[in-house]
């Protein structure tokens, strides 16, 4: 390895005193950022005030001109080194290399091909130039991926890494928009229904000690609140989960003469979540009522599903009616549910629904009724006469 005379950038330490110290400091910074690299000991980027020769880094690798180094480039560099040294990488390089192999495994073909091609292209250069370029690359990666124990001079705080994510990992924004939209729809729809985001009427029972909120929203309230009726319109599942909503939907279906669908669905639910002992009896009842030819409330199921269900009925189990139930569910969802939402009945429900009035705050909040705190069992003084809550 020969030092060519013209390539030396030896920092002159001729100035004395403070000037010399400043010059050394500046030189050390330049070396640490990789603008100069030492020739004798290329693995340690440090400036020594002796006759050690240095070389200038090529502008391609200057820290000021390049963007944050990408994983792909580093993988190619490591693959090249691995080929050159027949697999004998340093410990931390080996570790990085294995990690990269795992991280960008899809592009590994490219990494290996590029490494080989770059080495072949390098063969076309003169021998001296080849060594220079190898050293330049090594110095560049020493700065950009420092070995353990050496501080990273290019570190710029935590947000740098996130914005410098390489193109390799990003998915195109158009496709990302498509998978965001359900979330956006969900949150814009449910925003007014979230008690934390928009408060709840008439008042928060946990704060005001007033339980009208629970009374109004009880599962079987006589007149549902407006928010509750609105929620039935969000999805079919939402409607079926609410007992009041399901009852109204049943009324609607009875007017349409298709109430047996919902009854069948309810019977299937009962079978699914009921006790194990009643399963054969329930299956038999469902068959007699809904599926047998000429049954009183015969449901309309396509022949293939019907065949499969009837075959399963020989050995009844909890999930035997799942196919048929799903069929009926989709039927109601596609057919009756949109009509229910457009019907006068639903519109009437919406207008009739109550909007609870906000309870008036007390003028003097400190005058409020004292809470009934239960006496702690750990306190022995809580005797008959010791109720000192007031």
């Amino acid at each position: 390895f020969r030092v060519s005379e013209d390539g030396e950038g030896r920092p002159r330490a001729g100035v004395r005193g403070r000037g010399q110290r400043e010059a050394l400091h500046l030189g050390a910074l330049l070396v640490r950022h990789g603008y100069l690299y030492p020739l004798r000991d290329p693995r340690s980027l440090a400036l020594r005030p002796d006759e050690t020769p240095y070389r200038f880094q090529t502008p391609y690798f200057w820290a000021s001109t390049v963007w944050p180094a990408s994983e792909l480039d580093y993988a190619i560099y490591l693959a090249k080194r691995s080929i050159q040294r027949r697999g004998a990488l340093l410990d931390h390089e080996k570790e990085h290399y294995d990690q990269l192999q795992w991280k960008i495994s899809h592009a590994w073909d490219l990494v290996v091909t590029q490494a080989r091609e770059q080495l072949r292209a390098m063969k076309q250069r003169r021998r001296g130039d080849r060594l220079v370029i190898t050293c330049q690359e090594q110095a560049y990666w020493l700065v950009n991926r420092p070995p353990p124990g050496v501080p990273n001079v290019l570190e710029q705080g935590p947000e740098r890494g996130s914005c410098a994510a390489s193109r390799l990992q990003t998915v195109s924004t158009a496709r990302r928009g498509a998978c965001h939209s359900p979330y956006l729809k969900f949150s814009s729809q449910r925003g007014p229904h979230d008690p934390i985001l928009s408060g709840c009427l008439p008042s928060n029972p946990w704060v005001t000690d007033d339980d009208t909120y629970w009374a109004v929203n009880a599962p079987t309230a006589a007149t549902p609140t407006r928010l509750r009726v609105e929620r039935w319109g969000f999805s079919f599942q939402e409607l079926l989960e609410d007992p009041v909503g399901r009852a109204h939907f049943m009324d609607f279906l009875e007017k349409e003469f298709s109430a047996e669908n919902l009854s069948f669905w309810e019977a299937c639910e009962q079978l699914r979540y009921g006790g194990q002992a009643q399963v054969p009896a329930l299956v038999d009842a469902v068959y007699q009522q809904f599926l047998a030819p000429g049954a009183a409330r015969w449901v309309n199921i396509d022949s293939r599903t019907m065949e499969r269900t009837l075959a399963g009925l020989c050995r009844p189990h909890r999930y035997v009616l799942d196919d048929a139930q799903l069929h009926i569910y989709m039927l109601m969802k596609k057919d009756s549910y949109p009509r229910f939402l457009k019907s006068d009945m639903y519109k009437g429900l919406l207008t009739e629904a109550t909007v609870p009035v906000e309870t008036k705050r007390r003028v003097f909040p400190f005058m409020r009724k004292p809470r009934h705190c239960s006496p702690s069992p750990a306190l022995p003084t809580a005797g008959p006469g010791g109720g000192g809550e007031d």
Partner: protein, 237 residues
């Protein structure tokens, strides 16, 4: 066979990209010259042509619905390698643009950095263009116009990448690379044996090479014999 064709095109593109990378490395250094800029331009144009051809073939193949699953997996693998290669090419072109405008050749004082690289790189460019030798015929100040053209081409390559992303949907995480871990060593050795590629720093460890050692012993034996003969002749006369 479309697949073989795509593979050959992709190999050529890989070779050209690697050579281009090597040429860009020396821009702004002591080996920078009019010839280098011209070689850069030619290599870049070749790479662009290859990229357009490969992109068209691959897009056509992947949009074909009647492709068998195995064929499709193969094409997806090629596609991932191709898009990665384009990324590399685009990055290098952007760097060439930045460096080319930062180090103008025809400025009054040419501010080139003495990096120690001195030799011309026309052999690298010739390899990229797969030509025996290269003629330099550009006039004196073509590099200013070339920078504008380079800027346009960077944009074109960027658009091409975007366009391909929109046209073909290949989920990258499902693609399995063909090369397993450590594959570069095995085939690197074989490639080194066949085309003498892949070794460059090995020269330092030259003395351990058995063939070289054999040559050295032969040479020294001949030398010894010659010396002995010369001594004999001197004594006899």
């Amino acid at each position: 066979m479309a697949r073989e064709e795509c593979k050959a095109l992709l190999d050529a593109l890989n070779r050209t990209t690697a050579c281009y990378h090597h040429l860009v490395l020396t821009v702004g250094g002591s080996a920078d010259s009019q010839n280098l800029r011209e070689e850069l331009q030619k290599t870049r144009q070749k790479a662009h042509e290859l990229a357009v051809a490969t992109g068209a073939r691959l897009t056509g193949a992947l949009r074909d619905k009647s492709l068998a699953a195995e064929e499709r997996a193969e094409f997806e693998r090629l596609w991932v390698a191709f898009s990665g290669c384009l990324d590399l090419l685009e990055a290098d072109m952007q760097r060439a643009l930045a460096l080319g405008s930062a180090f103008p050749l025809n400025a009054p004082r040419r501010p080139l950095v003495r990096t120690g690289v001195a030799g011309a790189a026309s052999a690298v460019a010739a390899r990229a263009l797969s030509a025996r030798s290269l003629r330099h015929e550009a006039e004196h100040d073509f590099d200013v116009a070339d920078l504008q053209e380079l800027e346009r081409e960077v944009l074109q390559v960027g658009e091409m990448i975007q366009d391909m992303e929109m046209k073909v949907n290949v989920p990258r995480w499902t693609v399995q690379a063909r090369q397993a871990a450590g594959a570069e060593l095995l085939s690197g050795a074989s490639a080194g044996a066949s085309s003498a590629g892949g070794m460059s720093v090995e020269e330092r460890s030259g003395p351990c090479d058995p063939s070289k050692a054999l040559a050295a012993t032969l040479f020294s034996a001949v030398l010894l014999a010659a010396v002995a003969l010369a001594v004999c002749v001197a004594k006899l006369s």
